[in-house]
């Protein structure tokens, strides 16, 4: 009896209890695979590879009742990760009223029939929209594109004579576009054993976009020959294209025990 509670015995007992705990939790959450049970006990979905404008869609909207405008994007699937790159460009004037909505429609599928049946069964009883949280749209390190144009000619990114992005371009781009609230809508698609999800990014604040003061040509410190060429033009306009990144975790807790109330 004494030997049962020595150091080795206690460690072995702890391991056994942890194993049983994991198995019990996984069993409670309805997973069948031992691997999945030990990994998460809940997630058994992955993104469906699909074509743009088929199931997948990205669009922007001014306010809840505003017109919806499709925007271009590149998409890439890696099972559990959906990468959406090169969205837009979106004119920053869309942010001026603080009511921009970015809508991303995607599709997921369950890895086994049991999961999708359960998802479909629970999904019917759920409130359609779920608040996920708030995230900032922050400028990422990708080199911004900039151009000075006069209606006929364009100078800027890509010109051989220009070695780097002028510092004034970086200073004009805001570091952040403010916080966006994230909402998710998930609906089961009975016809193809999949689920359609819609992520809505709702702007919550108006960022300071246009900097104070005026932009002058000399602030770009361009090569002399190029400066001569540009300064001979009238009505110069600068266009700046910056890239802002975000990451959204997809919450599927409502399809597992202990998630949303039924």
């Amino acid at each position: 009896m004494h030997k049962l509670f020595n150091k080795t015995g206690l460690v072995l007992l702890s391991v056994a209890l942890l194993g049983l705990l994991g198995t019990s939790y996984a069993g409670y959450t309805g997973e069948l695979s031992a691997d999945t049970e030990l990994s998460t006990g809940s997630m058994d979905f992955e993104f469906i590879d699909m074509e743009v404008n088929e199931d997948f869609l990205i669009c922007i909207q001014k306010g809840e009742n505003g017109n919806i405008q499709d925007i271009c994007a590149d998409i890439d699937y890696d099972g559990k990760l959906l990468s959406v790159t090169d969205m837009g460009p979106i004119d920053m004037s869309w942010l001026e009223d603080g009511d921009l909505r970015i809508i991303i429609r995607y599709a997921i599928k369950a890895s086994n029939e049991h999961s999708i049946m359960k998802a479909a069964a629970t999904g019917k009883n759920e409130d359609a929209t779920r608040y996920i949280g708030s995230i900032p749209l922050e400028r990422i390190s990708r080199t911004p594109r900039w151009y000075i144009e006069n209606g006929q000619d364009i100078w800027g990114s890509g010109d051989d004579e220009i070695d780097s992005v002028p510092q004034i371009v970086y200073s004009l781009l805001p570091e952040t576009l403010g916080d966006f609230e994230i909402y998710q809508v998930l609906t089961a698609k009975a016809e193809d054993d999949g689920m359609q999800g819609i992520i809505i990014l709702v702007q919550t604040e108006v960022p300071v976009i246009i900097p104070e003061g005026q932009v002058t040509l000399s602030q770009f410190y361009l090569p002399e020959e190029l400066l001569q060429e540009i300064s001979a033009s009238k009505d110069l306009v600068l266009s700046v294209h910056g890239c802002y990144g975000f990451e959204i975790p997809i919450n599927l807790d409502q399809f597992n025990a202990g998630g949303w109330p039924l």
């Binding site: 990760l81 979106i90 300064s231």
Partner: protein, 102 residues
């Protein structure tokens, strides 16, 4: 000795259990990552002064005739209208207010 071996095995098993569970937890979430491009447009004030070549040539003629000893900088009418304030530090970057273009 037997106890030590059991202890080692148990510790290894426990470590593996924790590692696999943690790995599964952190890698098995669905997520969407995005990069959105935003752009804006601003007017640029042309504050660079260009010397008018024809005026320069005329000035050179005058200089040669000895009537004018100092070089005169003449700006075009368009540039005079658009000329703004040269920011501090422009000379350091080689962009001078009186930059002479040929």
């Amino acid at each position: 000795m037997k106890g030590k071996v059991l202890l080692l095995i148990a510790t290894t098993a426990l470590t593996l259990l924790i590692l696999t569970t943690s790995y599964g937890y952190w890698t098995d979430h669905l997520s969407i990552v995005g990069e959105a491009g935003f752009e804006f447009r601003l007017p640029v004030i042309n504050d660079i002064t260009i010397e008018d070549q024809s005026h320069d040539e005329a000035s050179d003629d005058i200089e040669r005739s000895g009537a004018l000893s100092d070089k005169t900088t003449v700006t075009t009418e368009e540039d005079s209208e658009q000329q703004g304030t040269i920011p501090e530090g422009s000379e350091e970057q080689g962009v001078d207010e009186s930059t002479e273009f040929q």
